[in-house]
């Protein structure tokens, strides 16, 4: 049985939370008309990306009443959306929440905060510290927000944690316009999506935004890549779109039977090697069997 995923490739406005919420409700309605099971929004879709000192004004706790419209909308369709989370101890995080049947069932806080080049996440936000999988409409899932996906360990940890689908809500600025090819960033992202999908045998859902913020253009190009490396669907560049793709969880099983890389993966060796390198003493020997 296939699961229909909609990606809302949209252009949130910086600092305009209510307008952005209206944008979400509109796209959620469109996704419902497309009979999608899940709609995925880009990174910081409720606030805009380069918020700078607005971060504190826009932040919500996970149970903030301002998120109530999403809670209500998620009774009909699962929703993944981006917001600034204020933690109980008043840290600000770039977060993506997953709402299911009127409940916020999972929050991922961006771990890798790019603070170089055109990025300044680390100045305004605290880093997340966990990579947890959760049950999504399309199977066991992990969320890697934009830069998280650029770190090889992140999709690896999700796959090791049982994920069969990795969602990457992003705010990727387009740059690199050399002749004879794709936008530089687009080429890099597509390479990542396909590589992770095929070699971790997972679905990769890349949900990028469009629009401009202070002269920087986000390029879009959202896509869904299957565990056999095929691109199930891909959105256009630099324009708003509701991209709809059907994913087949059974394909994950078929690909893993054909290509059992994960089954044979030596997580214990990874752990022991890293433990030794970090001087943490010896890690446990290979466990007798997995408990999950």
């Amino acid at each position: 049985m296939t699961v229909r995923i909609a990606i809302a490739q949209c252009a949130p406005a910086i600092g305009a939370f209510k307008r952005n919420m209206d944008l979400h409700l509109d796209r959620i309605e469109s996704a419902k008309r497309e009979r999608a099971d899940l709609v995925v929004f880009p990174e910081l879709s409720l606030t805009g990306y380069y918020v700078k000192d607005l971060a504190g004004d826009l932040a919500c706790s996970a149970d903030d009443p301002r998120l109530e419209p999403l809670v209500a909308a998620s009774r009909d369709i699962d929703v993944m959306a981006g917001f600034i989370e204020r933690s109980a101890d008043a840290r600000l995080h770039i977060a993506s929440g997953y709402w299911h049947q009127g409940r916020l069932v999972h929050v991922h806080r961006k771990v890798y905060l790019p603070t170089y080049g055109i990025f300044d996440d680390g100045r305004y936000f605290g880093a997340g510290e966990r990579f947890e999988t959760f049950e999504s409409a399309a199977g066991r899932a992990g969320i890697a927000i934009c830069e998280d996906l650029w770190h090889v360990s992140v999709p690896y940890l999700y796959a090791a944690g049982g994920a069969t689908i990795v969602f990457s809500p992003s705010a990727s600025p387009g740059r690199g316009v050399a002749e004879g090819g794709d936008l530089g960033t687009a080429a890099s992202c597509r390479l990542m999506d396909r590589f992770y999908a095929q070699y971790l045998t997972v679905y990769v859902v890349f949900a990028n935004r469009v629009g401009h913020e202070d002269g920087i253009g986000f390029w879009g190009g959202s896509e869904v890549v299957a565990p056999d490396g095929t691109v199930v669907a891909r959105a256009g560049e630099f324009e708003e779109q509701l991209l709809v793709a059907d994913v087949d969880p059974a394909l994950v099983a078929r690909e893993r039977a054909r290509n059992p890389l994960l089954r044979d993966e030596r997580e214990d060796l990874v752990l022991r090697t890293l433990s030794a390198r970090l001087g943490l003493g010896s890690a446990p020997d290979r466990p007798a069997g997995r408990t999950d």
Binding site: G48, K52, D53, L54, A178, E179, G180, L183, D214, F238
Partner: protein
Amino acid sequence: MNERAIRPDPRDPSPLRIDEALVRKMLVGFLRDETAKAGMRRVVLGVSGGVDSAVVAALAVEAFGAGSVLALFTPYRTSSRDSRTDARAVAERFGFALEDVPITAQVDAYFAEAGGDVADRVRVGNKAARERKSIEYDRSWPDGLVLGTSNKTELLLGYGTQFGDMACALNPVGDLYKTQLRELAGHLDVPRRIIEKPPTADLWVDQTDEGELGFTYADADLALYHMVDRRLRPDELVAAGFDADLVQRLRERMRRNHYKRVMPLIAKVSLRTIGHDFLYPRDWEED
């Protein structure tokens, strides 16, 4: 993706080549989005007859339609006749109205009152550039934005007048070297004569950019590309065969003129200071 390794080679200009269609799409989108975010509906720019303003005008017409583009030709008495002919050709090619606003009377009146014939040509040139910009800003009131036409080469070298031609609300071409801008001009169908004529600020008779700078855009752009975009150090460029004197001059111009590329300095005395630790996006939008 361009799979070819990019090596610094003074004989290989190919790293400067751009995907013109992609750049065009990005710049038209930039103009539309950023103008709408500012709550404005039209744009104003000076069209000089040169390739930079021709490209910006073409992009603006594509973004907003010719009816929303106010183009001003602002000659001084020393301006070349060819400039007017070429500015007209650009207006005709892209279908927008070009308005003549001569600036001789006010510039000459100022120097007659304040400086007389001691005024040197650099002062007159700077004054003319600022006079033009003050007219563009005046004509942008109340619902237009002023577009800039300074390219990346000029901005890096500081080859422009601060608060004159460098001033604007939006600059769609400031991240394109002159060489790249000429390539884009061809794609946009800017008249060939304008792409090929020697670039000039036309601030005095027979001025040319390359004559005044002392090197060609082709040489400067390639060295700047490797130095700025690819982050090569000057000694690495020289080792790769770039002219040591050129590299040194480019580097020094970049350093000396950096003040032109940043906002004025504000002395910090309080707990929170504009520009230092009061940092908001310019595109901060209303809820």
